[in-house]
Symmetry: C2
């Protein structure tokens, strides 16, 4: 049965899944790139970037798994871009250039409706203004037999965890402290929501934890 | 030069260093023992308990280091026992029985003065009612050329981190989520306080991080 998964979600040792002060210059917030330091050297990431080489160990295996098997994606508005409030024009088409890494229907949560954007490589951005459950229904329908990925950011992942919609969450715990940023765990009782760590693996540059809902 | 260290401090993936509802029955709070699951099978812990055998890998090395080289310890009142408020009698002498694992002067933070207690094996509990800086001064003097360990609990460690008194902190990050409990990181900006992860090692049952103050 298709699942709803969070995957490759990177978190600092002190629980931040993005740095503070996201901006055009800092898509992951200040110092946010440090929590992804495990991912950048992998063959999976380098291939996505059109580069040769890369590591092929545990980090790469988890990195590859975090992008495979998905028929649709859900992103929060801030993960799509730095613009807040109404769309002033249609110019912004995401952080990723003309050919985003999704290659599937991708549902962007927003309070401000906008026409879909067809990108190269199979990614179509759909803007969903009637709530997270509607976005999930649409993503499930679009994904068919494949999984739905909740891509982020932190607020979006937390909302789907809180309604029990996430079947599996892969966290890459990075050996770094950020001190400030978007806190993943604060006030979120994962145990009460039914989640437990069911797999743990030491990667080369992060510890990978897989949480499943019991 | 002698250092002030936090060591072997166990934290869940979601940042809890003790479970909720500490009591006589649950010294580490409910489910708190799960974050120490890396420690119990080690040769170091088993030897402390008078038992033979035990693992001798990375977890054991960090476990051993977390109890070596200290000339004095500082504990919060709750780490010493479950009693709150004034001492109603002198019966409670810590969680550890007649021969506690400290074997050195051990300074217990409290608002309620009490005479020192001489235990077997070199541990003497001193009760300090005039603040954390006084306790640190006394512990440093008692430790001489050896390090001072801030033993816990969470509130005590946070207070010493906030005043920049901790030179090094070894965290054992356990692959478990508690959902509730004593949060180590919430509202504590370790980066702003000068801390960074300077060593990371995959143990058999936990990831060991060493933070040092720059």
């Amino acid at each position: 049965m298709p699942q709803v998964r969070v995957a490759g979600f990177s978190v600092s040792a002190d629980g931040y899944a993005a740095g503070p002060e996201q901006s055009l210059e800092h898509p992951l917030g200040k110092r946010g790139h440090e929590i992804f330091a495990w991912y950048f050297p992998t063959k999976t990431f380098r291939t996505m970037q059109g580069q040769a080489g890369g590591t092929e160990g545990v980090d790469d295996q988890y990195g590859a798994r975090s992008m495979q098997g998905f028929g649709a994606f859900i992103l929060g508005r801030n993960m799509f871009g730095p613009i807040r409030g109404p769309w002033t024009n249609e110019d912004w088409k995401g952080w990723w250039g003309g050919n985003p890494p999704y290659h599937a229907p991708t549902f962007v949560l927003t309070n401000h409706p906008r026409d879909p954007i067809v990108m190269e490589g199979g990614t179509v951005f759909h803007f969903v203004a009637d709530g997270i459950r509607s976005a999930l229904d649409q993503a499930r329908a679009a994904a068919g037999d494949l999984d739905v990925k909740i891509g982020g950011g932190v607020a979006t992942v937390r909302q789907y965890l809180e309604i029990g919609a996430v079947d599996e969450m892969h966290l890459a715990m990075s050996p770094v402290v950020l001190g400030r940023g978007e806190a993943l765990f604060a006030g979120l009782d994962l145990s009460a929501l039914g989640y437990a760590v069911t797999r743990s693996a030491a990667g080369e540059r992060a510890t990978h934890l897989v949480l499943t809902r019991q």
